[in-house]
Amino acid sequence: MKHLEKLLAELAVQKLQNQTRRHFLMDCVSKVGVLAMAPLLFGCEPEHLIKKSTGLNLSERDLNPLAPLPPPFVGKAKSIIYLHMAGAPSQLELFDYKPELARYHDKDCPESLLEGRKFAFIRGVPKMLGPQAQFAQHGQSGAWVSDYLPHFAKVTDEVAFLKAVHTDQFNHGPAQLFMQTGSPRLGRPSLGSWVTYGLGTENQNLPGFVVLTSGGKTPDAGKSVWGSGFLPSVYQGVQCRSKGDPVLYLEDPTGMSRDLKKNVISAINQVNQEDFETFGDPEILARINQYEMAYRMQIEVPEVMNINDEPEHIHELYGTKPGEESFANNCLLARKLVEKGVRVVQLYDWGWDTHGTDHDGSIDKGLRNKCREIDRPMSALLLDLKQRGLLEETLVVWGGEFGRTPMQENREGKVQSFMGRDHHVDAFTMWMAGGGVKKGASYGITDDFGFSGVDERVSVHDLHATILQLMGFNHEKFTYDFQGRPFRLTDVHGELIHAVLA
C-alpha cells in the first residue's frame, strides 16, 4: 500500500515535469469531470474522498497544483527563506576584509582594473576607497565580519559564506531578475516559483510562496522577480503586507459573516462546476481552485501575519514592533510562515544602493544604518529557527544582486560629497545557512582589492544549482517544457558548490 502511494507520488512528479499546464489540467478534465466538486470544497482529505466516490487512485496534486510532493531525492531543506538586499550591499564593508585596500585609499585606481570595463556610474579614473568598517574574526570558524554587524558576528558558525560570487548584470533590474530567475530578461520563472512548482506546499491555507518587502519600496525589477514566468501562475509569489490588509482585499465586506461568505463561494463553485460540465474548458477548474484557495487564505493569512501575540522575548530577539513595515517584522513573519508550512518566503529589503550621492546612500553612514536594521533580525531568525528545530530543514540565503566596487564612485567624473561605491559584478559575498549547509564554511577567495574572485568563484547559476540540490532536485533534470524545449532554472549552466554542502 505504502509502495503504491509512493509510486503514485513519483508518477505525479514525473507528470508535472513532463507536461505543460494544459496537459496537466486535461488530466483533471478526464479524472475530475466525473466527480462532484461540491463535497470537496473545504474538504481536508480529498484523496480519501476521491477514492470513496470514484474508486480511482488520484494523487492530491491531480486536483490541487499546490499539493505537496516529495522531491526526486531527499532534500536536506524543506523550505527556503531568501533575504534579498535590493540595491546590493557592499561586501567590502561587511564580510570581505581587505587590509591592502585600506593602504590604497584615495590613490588612483590602477589602470589594469579599468581597462575594457564599463561601470554603471564611474567615469575616467576613480580613486580607491578603503574599507570603512572595522573587521574582526568571529566564532570557531574565524569568519571575518565587520563592526557593522555585531549581532550577526555571533552566529557565523551557523553560516557558510560564498565570497567570490559573480554575476554579469550591472543594473539593478536585470541583476535582480538574473539572481531570482536565472535570466536578466523578463519572462522566466523565479527560483521560488520553481521550488513551489516542484514541491507544492505543506499548508493549503496559505500561499506556497510568500513575498515580504521592506525599506519603503519594492525591488527595482518590480513584481517580475517573484513572477512565475512560463510556469502556471498559481506558482507565483504572493505579496503579503504588514500594514493594512495583509493581502489586498483579503478582508470580507463588513456585515458579511464567514458562513455567508462560505455560501457565496460554494454557490460560485457549484455554478462553475456546472459550466465546466457544459463547456469542458479546464480553465474553469483552475477558477474553482482559485476560489477555494481565496477562501482559505482569508482565514489563515490574517492569523499568521499577526505578530501581536508573540511573546515579549521574541520581540526583543528580533527587534520587532507590531504594525510596522520593517525587515525585522518580516524576519519574524518568515519564521512563522515556514513554521506553518509555507514553502518559500522571499524577503526584499530596499535601500542598499550605496553610491555616495547622499547621506543615506553613503558607505560610512547610510550603510551602517541599513545594517542596523537587518543585523539583529537576521541573526534572530537563525537563532529562532534553531531553537525550534527548524533550521535543519530551512535553507536561509542572504545576498544582493551584485557587489560594490573597491573604488570610490565618481559619478560623471565628479567628486562625490559622500563616500560611495559603484555597482560591481566581479566579486561579492553571499551567505547560506540551515538545511544541508555546511556550518562555518567559507568558499571563495578574492584579490587584494576584493575586485575579482581569484579562486572558488561562484556564478549565479552555481548558486541556483546548489539551492535546488539542497531542496532535493538535480538542477539539470528539473525541467519544464516551453516553446518546444525543456527549460531549466540554470539554463545550460551551473555547478554544485560541494564545499558548502554538509
Binding site: 519594492t218 455554478v271 482569508q298
Partner: protein, 909 residues
C-alpha cells in the same frame, strides 16, 4: 564492353534511377529559411554569428557564411558537401574538432538536410516575414464547403476557407455556431469592451437587425474607441507618470484621447502611424497631428537629482527605436543595441542608423518635459490669432510662422542644463541654473538667429538682481543687461538683446548685494530668441503686445510632444560601442536595415521618411504585425504566436496564407481600415463558433490554435471592472479628459521623493471606464495589476493571462465590485417585484445573456435564502453590509456578488 552489354548497363542504370525516383520522389529543394536556418540557429549561431565568430566563422549573414575563415578555407562550398568544412566538422571523429563543440552532435537527419542544401547550391533565403506580402490564393471552396459540422446554412468567408483547410489537415471539425445572444455578448465585449446594450439586445433578439448589422452598430459606438485604445496604449506605453525613481505625474491624457478619437474615426493605420511618429514633420501640422506625436513622449523621464539628463535622453531615444520596431515590425531590436543581432540579419550599426531618425528631437529629459503642446482656451485662441496676424502684417510670413510655432510649443529654446564653466553658480538639482551674487556660467555654441530679444523663463524670491549677458566671457561685449525682481512663480520675461549672427558663447552673470552667500539669485529654466513684436507705432499694437504677453503666462494643459531640431541645433548620431552611450563609435546617418529593404530615395531622411517606409506597400512587416495583433485580440492568440517577434526565432505562423491574405487585404482592399479588418474577422463562421470543448478536441488542439471552436478566455483587467460597473448601472459614460482616481486601499503609493497622493475622485469620475484610471508606473491601480494589466514602463505586445486567488479576492471584496453588486442586487430585487426567483432569473439573463439552468437557479435561490435569514435575524449585519437596504435587497446583493464572480461572467463566452 559490347553494345548489348552497354545497353543492358544503361537500362539498368535508368531502371535503378527510376526505382529511386519512385521510391524517394524527385529530390525536393531544401528551403533555407524554414529548414536550414532553424538548424543553424539551434546549434551553430551562438558561437558563429552576432556576438561570437569563433574561428572567424559566422553564419548570420550570407556574405560571412561563404567567406574564407581563419583556417583559410570557406566553411561552405556550394554544390560540394564533401569539401565543405562545415560538414566535415559536424561529422569529425575527433571530439576536439567535432562541432558543436562539447555539445551533442547534430542528428543524422539534420546533417543530411545540410548536405542536401549544400549539394543543391547552398541557396540563401530570406526569412518568411521579410518577404513581400503577396495575395495568396483562397483554398478551393468546393472542397472545403462540404466539411461543415452540419451547419450547411453557414456562409463561409475566405478566412473560413483558410481555417477549414487546416482543420481538415489536422483531422478536426469546426464547432456549431454559438447561441445568438452569447455571440452578441462575445462580439460586444470584443468590439467595445462592454456587454451589449439593452437596445442592441432587443433589436437583435427580435430579429430587427442581423448579426452583421449589430456588428456595424458596435463598430460605430464610441465605446469601440475606448476598447481598442486600451490595446494600443499598452504598445504606446502610455501612463500618467514619468517613471523611474520619483515617478511624478505628467500630463499625457490628451494623447490618450487622441488615440480613442482616432480609433473611433477609423483613421487608416498608415495615417495613424505617420501622425504618431512624425506628425510634427507634416506640412502645417494640425493640433491633432502634433498631439499624436506624444506617442514617443511616453518614454520615461528621469527627475532623480544627480542624474545626467543626456543619459536619460539617450535612453528615451533608444526606447523609441526599440518600441517602433516592436510595434510596427515585430522585431526585437534591443539585442542590436550592443552587437549584431544573434539570430536575425541586422547589424550593430544598423540599430544606430535607425536611431539617427529619432535622435533629432528637441526633448532633452528636462524636468518640465518640454517641448509641450499648449492647449489654449477659446478666448486665448483669439489672442493667438491676433498676435499671428499682427506678426504677418509687420514681419511677414516666415516670422509669423516662427511666432505661431513658438506659441504652440515654445521651440526652439535652450534648456538651462546646457550650462558649463560654473563659477559661483550651480545646476540646481541637476536641472536649473542658479547664479549666486557675482556668479557666472557659460552657454556654448548658441545661435541667437540675430534676434533683438531674449525670452527668459525663471523664478525668484529676490528683488533687484542685475543680470548681464556678454559675448564669450567676463570681458566680452554686453549683449543684454537687465534687472529681475521677485516673481509670482515661474515667469517668462522679454529682454532686449543685441542682434548678433552666427554661433557664439554666452557668458551670463548675476549681481545682487542682498543675496546671501551661496544663495541663488534666481532659478533659470530656459531661454529662447524670438524677435520683439514690430509695428510699435501702428494702431492696435498695444493690444497685440498685451495679448502676446498674456499668452506667455499660459499655464494650462501642456502635452509633451516631438519637435524636430532646427538645422542649427541638429544632432549627430554615433554607434555606441557595446551599447555604451559613453563610448562613441563611428558617426552614422539615418538608414533603414538593409535586409528589410524598401527605402525610396524620394523620402526625407527623417522620422517622416521612416514612417513612410513603415507604411509603404513594400514593407511586409507592418501589415503582418497589425493583423496578427488584431487577430490575437479577438482569438486570444496570434497567427504568429510570438506577437513581439516575427524574426527567425519566432514561432512560424500557424496559417501563413491567412496571415498574408489579411495583411494584403488590409493594405489594399481596406486601405488600412482597422474597422474593416475587424469586421471581416468577427463576421466569419470561425469567430461565431461555439466555445464548447469536448475532451477529444481538447486532446487534439488544447490551445485552440487551429480554431475548431470559438475563442473563450478571461476578460482583461479593464473589461472585468467596466463590465461590473456596466451591468450594475454604475458605469459613467463620460469620455476624455484628465485621468481619474477611483477607490484604492490606503498605502499603495510608496515612492520616495514624491509628495503626491491618491486623492479619490468624486461623483461619476469614480465610475469611469478603466482606460481613464490614473496609471502610476511604479504603483499601478492594484486590481488592474492583479488581473494582468501592464505597468506601461515599456512597450507590451501581449498581456499574459494568469489565474491567482488574489483575483478572486478583488472581485469578491474590492469595494468597487461590492458597490456594483449592491447596485445590481437592489435593481434585481426591484425588477423581481417581490419574487426572488424572478429576480434571479432575469438578472442572470441580463448579466450572462443566457437563460438560467434549473441547477444554477436552485443554487442561487439557496444562497438568497441563507443570506436573507442572516440579514433578517441580524439587523446589525444588515446595517453594516448594506446600510438602508431591506434584507431582501441585501440578500440579492450577495447573490449579485456571487454572479459577478462566475467564471462565465469573467470570461468572454
Amino acid at each position: 564492353m559490347n553494345r548489348n552489354q552497354l545497353v543492358l548497363l544503361l537500362s539498368l542504370l535508368v531502371g535503378i534511377s527510376l526505382i529511386g525516383f519512385f521510391l524517394f520522389g524527385p529530390e525536393k529543394e531544401v528551403d533555407y529559411s524554414t529548414q536550414i536556418k532553424p538548424i543553424l540557429n539551434k546549434h551553430c549561431i551562438t558561437c558563429h554569428g552576432g556576438v561570437k565568430k569563433n574561428g572567424g566563422f559566422s553564419i548570420l549573414f550570407e556574405k560571412e557564411a561563404f567567406a574564407i575563415n581563419e583556417s583559410g578555407l570557406p566553411a561552405i562550398v556550394p554544390g560540394s558537401p564533401n569539401s565543405s568544412e562545415l560538414i566535415k566538422r559536424l561529422t569529425h571523429s575527433d571530439p576536439e574538432l567535432r562541432m558543436p563543440y562539447q555539445k551533442a552532435a547534430l542528428s543524422d537527419e539534420e546533417i543530411d538536410l545540410l548536405k542536401t542544401w549544400i549539394r543543391q547550391g547552398a541557396k540563401w533565403g530570406k526569412h518568411w516575414a521579410y518577404k513581400p506580402v503577396k495575395k495568396p490564393e483562397i483554398p478551393t471552396q468546393t472542397q472545403i464547403a462540404g466539411m461543415g459540422s452540419g451547419d450547411s446554412e453557414v456562409k463561409l468567408s475566405p478566412i473560413d476557407y483558410f481555417i477549414r483547410e487546416k482543420l481538415e489537415e489536422k483531422g478536426l471539425k469546426p464547432s456549431a455556431q454559438e447561441q445568438p445572444l452569447r455571440l452578441l455578448r462575445r462580439v460586444a465585449l470584443d468590439l467595445t469592451g462592454l456587454p451589449p446594450s439593452e437596445t442592441l439586445v432587443s433589436d437583435f433578439s427580435s430579429g430587427k437587425i442581423t448579426y452583421e448589422q449589430a456588428v456595424d452598430q458596435l463598430l460605430k459606438a464610441e465605446t469601440y474607441g475606448e476598447k481598442w485604445a486600451t490595446w494600443w496604449l499598452d504598445l504606446a506605453r502610455y501612463a500618467d507618470t514619468k517613471g523611474y525613481e520619483r515617478d511624478v505625474s505628467r500630463t499625457m491624457w490628451p494623447y490618450r484621447d487622441w488615440v480613442i478619437l482616432a480609433f473611433n474615426a477609423d483613421k487608416p493605420f498608415d495615417e495613424f502611424t505617420i501622425e504618431q511618429l512624425a506628425g510634427d514633420l507634416l506640412p502645417n501640422p494640425t493640433q491633432d497631428q502634433l498631439t499624436a506625436t506624444a506617442f514617443h513622449r511616453n518614454t520615461m523621464n528621469n527627475d532623480e537629482g544627480g542624474t545626467e539628463d543626456e543619459e536619460f535622453r539617450v535612453a528615451a531615444i533608444l526606447d523609441r527605436v526599440n518600441t517602433t520596431y516592436e510595434v510596427w515590425q515585430s522585431t526585437t531590436m534591443a539585442c542590436v543595441q550592443c552587437h549584431s543581432h544573434t539570430y536575425d540579419p541586422i547589424r550593430h550599426e544598423e540599430f544606430y542608423q535607425s536611431a539617427a531618425f529619432f535622435n533629432n528631437t528637441r526633448d532633452e529629459d528636462t524636468h518640465d518635459e518640454e517641448p509641450r503642446l499648449r492647449f489654449y482656451e477659446e478666448e486665448q485662441l483669439g489672442q493667438v490669432k491676433n498676435v499671428i496676424t499682427w506678426t504677418k502684417e509687420y514681419e511677414g510670413e516666415k516670422a509669423a510662422k516662427a511666432r505661431a510655432d513658438f506659441l504652440k510649443f515654445y521651440e526652439p529654446k535652450y534648456a538651462a542644463h546646457l550650462a558649463t564653466d560654473f563659477n559661483r553658480s550651480e545646476l540646481i538639482d541637476t536641472k536649473w541654473l542658479g547664479l549666486w551674487s557675482g556668479g557666472s556660467a557659460v552657454y556654448k555654441n548658441i545661435d541667437t538667429q540675430g534676434s533683438d530679444q531674449l525670452l527668459l523663463d525663471y523664478w525668484t524670491g529676490l528683488d533687484g538682481t542685475q543680470m548681464t549677458i556678454r559675448k564669450d566671457g567676463p570681458e566680452g561685449e554686453v549683449l543684454a543687461s537687465f534687472v529681475i525682481n521677485k516673481t509670482q512663480g515661474e515667469t517668462v520675461k522679454q529682454i532686449p538683446f543685441k542682434p548678433i549672427s552666427g554661433k557664439i558663447n554666452l557668458y551670463i552673470e548675476a549681481k545682487n548685494p542682498s543675496a546671501g552667500p551661496q544663495q541663488n539669485t534666481s532659478t533659470i529654466v530656459w531661454f529662447a530668441f524670438l524677435p520683439s513684436l514690430k509695428g510699435k507705432d501702428k494702431p492696435g499694437f498695444k493690444e497685440a503686445e498685451s495679448d502676446w504677453e498674456e499668452l506667455l503666462k499660459f499655464r494650462g494643459t501642456r502635452l509633451p510632444i516631438l519637435i524636430e531640431n532646427p538645422t542649427y541645433m541638429a544632432r549627430k548620431t554615433h554607434v555606441f560601442e557595446r551599447g555604451n552611450w559613453m563610448v562613441l563609435g563611428q558617426e552614422v546617418n539615418p538608414k533603414t536595415p538593409a535586409e528589410f529593404g524598401g527605402w525610396r530615395e524620394e523620402w526625407p531622411k527623417n522620422r517622416l521618411g521612416f514612417a513612410y517606409w513603415l507604411t509603404s506597400a513594400e514593407n511586409p512587416l507592418t501589415a503582418r504585425t497589425l493583423v496578427n495583433r488584431i487577430w490575437d485580440q479577438l482569438f486570444g492568440r496570434g497567427i504568429v504566436r510570438t506577437l513581439e517577434d516575427m524574426g527567425s526565432q519566432s514561432d512560424p505562423p500557424s496559417h501563413p496564407e491567412l496571415l498574408d491574405y489579411l495583411a494584403w487585404k488590409t493594405m489594399n482592399d481596406y486601405a488600412w481600415s482597422i474597422k474593416a479588418l475587424i469586421r471581416e474577422i468577427v463576421t466569419t463562421a470561425t469567430y461565431k463558433q461555439s466555445s464548447i470543448l469536448s475532451p477529444e478536441v481538447f486532446e487534439k488542439d488544447p490551445e485552440n490554435q487551429w480554431y475548431s471552436r470559438g475563442p473563450r478566455f478571461r476578460l482583461s483587467a479593464e473589461q472585468v471592472r467596466d463590465q461590473a460597473l456596466a451591468v450594475s448601472g454604475l458605469l459613467s459614460e463620460k469620455m476624455y479628459g484628465p485621468s481619474v482616481k477611483p477607490h484604492q486601499p490606503e498605502g499603495i503609493w510608496q515612492t520616495v521623493y514624491n509628495g503626491e497622493s491618491w486623492t479619490e475622485s468624486e461623483g461619476e469620475d469614480k465610475y469611469r471606464r478603466g482606460i481613464y484610471t490614473f496609471l502610476k508606473r511604479t504603483s499601478p491601480y492594484p486590481s488592474f495589476i492583479t488581473f494582468d494589466a501592464a505597468s506601461r514602463e515599456v512597450c507590451l505586445s501581449k498581456r499574459l493571462v494568469t489565474n491567482t486567488p488574489l483575483q478572486a479576492l478583488v472581485t469578491l471584496n474590492d469595494p468597487v465590485y461590492l458597490e456594483a453588486a449592491k447596485n445590481l442586487g437592489k435593481n434585481a430585487w426591484a425588477k423581481g417585484a417581490g419574487n426572488p426567483e424572478k429576480a434571479i432569473s432575469s438578472t442572470y439573463q441580463q448579466v450572462i445573456f443566457s437563460p438560467i439552468s434549473e441547477g444554477k437557479k436552485k443554487t442561487l435561490m439557496d444562497l438568497f435564502a441563507s443570506a436573507k435569514v442572516e440579514f433578517t435575524t441580524n439587523p446589525a449585519a444588515l446595517a453594516d453590509f448594506f446600510p438602508g437596504a431591506k434584507p431582501e435587497e441585501a440578500a440579492m446583493a450577495v447573490v449579485a456578488n456571487a454572479m459577478m464572480n462566475f467564471d462565465e461572467f469573467l470570461t468572454k463566452p
